[in-house]
Symmetry: C2
Subunit: 216 residues, 2 copies
DNA sequence: GAATGACGTTACCACTTGGTAACATCATTC
DNA sequence: GAATGATGTTACCAAGTGGTAACGTCATTC
């Protein structure tokens, strides 16, 4: 039987992008390619070349509409106080990190995007993606700067890296050390650890400031 | 001109494994394949099938001899005190994390191995590698358990994840946030951040213990 | 010194990949 | 209702992949 396909550029582009996400999420970054996407979308691959100009264009279009980080950060900024007090500071940053973790955990195709990026860092597109993220993070940190004496950029980059890597691991390994990443209990342990880390930083910083004051 | 190759199984196996490392480090996980390795080693690919039984066998052989983590951890255990005091505890773990970071940073092919693992998590070999690492880490933590009230497994896994991801990023992006990963200065900032995190945990934990004591 | 088996080579296979040209077909516009 | 351009299809290409059979060629052993 021959299926007659309605001619509709918008719709086929949509289908292609959707298939792109599915392929990335399911098969992983390795088997993702123009042919796979075309097949999955049940669309002739020639159309991908026509509409997106090839793999890079496709990836870019996909990213622009799909990547959640900028939206996520903006949303967090809206609800967050601009200059947190010493008490709320560690709370705020724990919340941010944990929410980021939870959100990232649900976005399978975003995870695959990061995976792709990690193995294609030399490409121009990967670079742009990375610097895009960087700007978004820098913006966030500048607005609600935590631990300003404690190099917030370094700390944040470490914590975000930790969470990112952990989430990527979770889709491959059931456990890391004795932490079960396929149960909520495991993730709660990580959340607690994150809270403790930020809380510890807060305490240490306060203590240092007190020392400075008493010396003066 | 025809180069006559001496017949020597040991040596060609050696050459193949060496080429494996080079290919992984140079071209990255993407373009690594049997053909690439064979070409690089200037060895007929048939020999790879004969000696290693294909890609998986090759990878496994490569891993067994090459992966540094277990050796690294064992070495660290030798020089470290078994039950660190409260004062030396944060110092010890900072040192461990930082040394791990420095070591991992110099091992390009180990980095590519991890990259490979991150995109082939479903394979049996990747699973084995992961659980091998897990055991090594668990062993280490059990011996020099830090912050035993603070879920050391969760904290360690976060910190190691952070460092791992950071190093992987560094070979692709010049900067993360405003941290220049191609200069020592950037890495020193990260080291300082790591020290502060562990120190903060230490202080927080001490304070909690004091509270318990005074309550009793 | 013939036989044997380990080592290395040549040549090929089927299959997948990214990419393109040429074609058919529909929808709008004048 | 003819022209035209956007849409979808067929068929092909070169290049690369993993994998194998069949063939040489050397070294040892008896």
């Amino acid at each position: 039987m021959k299926v007659v396909k309605r001619r509709n550029r918008q719709l086929t582009m949509e289908r292609i992008l959707r298939a792109m996400g599915e392929v990335m999420a399911e098969r992983g970054t390795e088997k993702a390619g123009i042919n796979a996407v075309a097949e999955r979308a049940d669309v002739n691959k020639v159309l991908i070349y026509r509409y997106f100009g090839g793999w890079n264009g496709l990836l870019e279009a996909y990213v622009q509409r799909g990547f959640f980080l900028s939206i996520f950060n903006e949303k967090f900024l809206e609800t967050a106080p601009e200059a947190p007090s010493s008490e709320t500071r560690s709370r705020l940053w724990s919340d941010y990190t944990i929410q980021f973790m939870q959100e990232f955990r649900t976005r399978k195709s975003s995870q695959e995007l990061i995976r792709w990026e990690m193995t294609h860092g030399e490409t121009e597109l990967a670079q742009r993606l990375a610097s895009f993220r960087n700007e978004s993070f820098k913006n966030l940190i500048n607005k609600i700067a935590p631990f300003s004496d404690y190099d917030p950029m370094a700390i944040t980059s470490l914590m975000v890296s930790a969470v990112t890597h952990m989430v990527l691991l979770s889709s491959q390994n059931e456990k890391i050390l004795d932490i079960d990443l396929h149960t909520d209990e495991g993730w709660v342990r990580l959340e607690t650890a994150i809270r403790r880390i930020y809380a510890g930083l807060n305490i240490a910083l306060e203590r240092e400031n007190n020392k400075k004051v008493s010396e003066a």
